[in-house]
Amino acid sequence: MHASDRALVDRLLAGDEAAFDSFFQGHFPGLFRFALARVRYDADAAEEVTQATLCKVLTKLHTYRGEAALFTWLCTFCRHEISAFHERAGRQPVTVELIEETPEVAGALESLWELTGHRPDERLRRGEIARWVHVTLDHLPARYASALEWKYVDGISVKEIAERLGLSAKAAESLLTRARQAFRDGFASVARQDAEWATR
């Protein structure tokens, strides 16, 4: 049960302005990137699909039960909108699979670690891995993703992260621990999923 997502939806249905801001800011960027990668990186198409998705989702909010993460639920709608978009454009519909949350850590990270070299034929692969990382972050709770980016990309101290999140330093450390574990689980799942797609 995704209680915090369910609470957010309840607040949306009650007309809470702050909830709308939180919903949009927390999910739109990830949803846009989700769509972008599936419409051949056509930004106009991604915008169209994302807008259609959010408008559809907002009419269906009352059906959300919190059984899946809200972002995963949004991706379900987005997948349908992407298919509809391809059909309208006369393209072969693209099947979009959702990312399952299956924890498999070591293999994916290990293979990634091997790809830190600089051979030209690895550059494309590294770009794909970057996308996996971003997809994984988009699927994490927003606080987890932000905390990881702040700490490991921006180099911000735990103390400052704690201040940004309104937590004690100890609680921020704890959150980072959970965020790292969630990232490892998610990343492994994404990597495996893409590997399966590559072999089809």
Partner: protein, 340 residues
Amino acid sequence: MSGAAPDDRLEALLRTTGRRPAVPPERAERVRAASREQWDRVLSRRARRRRVWAAVLLATAATVVVALGLTVRENGIGGTPAPAVAGQVEARVGPAWVRAAASGSGSRAVLPGLGTELSLGSELATEDGGRIAIRLASGHSLRLDEGTRARLLDDGAIALERGALYVDSRGPAGSAAGSVEIRTGFGRLRDVGTQFEARVLGSSLVVRVREGRVSWDRAGARLEVRAGEEAEAETAGSAVLRAGPPDGTTWAWIGEVAPMLDIEGRTLGEFLQWIARERGLRLEFASSDLATTAPFIRLNGSIEGMTLDEALASVLVTCRLDHRIHGGVLEVHADQGGSS
């Protein structure tokens, strides 16, 4: 490399890939506006469903009150808006934007929600299909038709640049607010206890008055436009004055963005007076019994999210009444087999 600690690997991975690419702000803003619009519609539909139900429940109660001949004291109308700001959004339909007064680095236009407070200096702009109603701190009801641009000036006046606005000087409690000034490229308008519309039509301004009168100062001359009249003038030259019925279809847009009356605890008489005024109609009862009873029928529930016609029908049916509109009159009568 493979012997590195897991956290080191994680750090290297995230650092190497960098931040997630941001969505261009203009795309985000467009999608946000569309989503916000949809959210408002969803909330409105949900509220309407709840309200209809409440009104049905209420109908029984209202009928019982009439049947027993109970006398119920009338309530005053509604709360007053917070006076600390220039105004507050009471209703919005479609794309109607507000840009707060610039402070240093400026500000961006937003689609305001109900209850959004507007500061002095705020700009208002409506696009096709967009309308907005604002309760000014002075008590006036201000409504902007589609394709309008206006500004809430620091001295309390309203600048109309293009499009049309409607002013009702009745406060939310039905009391008359003070005078408000509308500044246009065609002169200044000042109301005297009135309902009026000012519309910029290309090279001319048209002022139509439903109730009371409007004083129009232009090029050193003053023109009085009275209820049932319509005046049109360009920046130079004389104005044309003609008849302007207060209930014609040209006023219909006002009802589409009318803030709904909070009927909870109000009497049927108050509701009918309000809706007749919103429609520019004169209220009449088919019988003296009805006229006597209406002030003592107390309403409950809500009409929020309904159109004026839907609200009228919903409330009357709960009271087992019906109506017809003819010749500028809203006539209320008992429905077939109903009691009044």
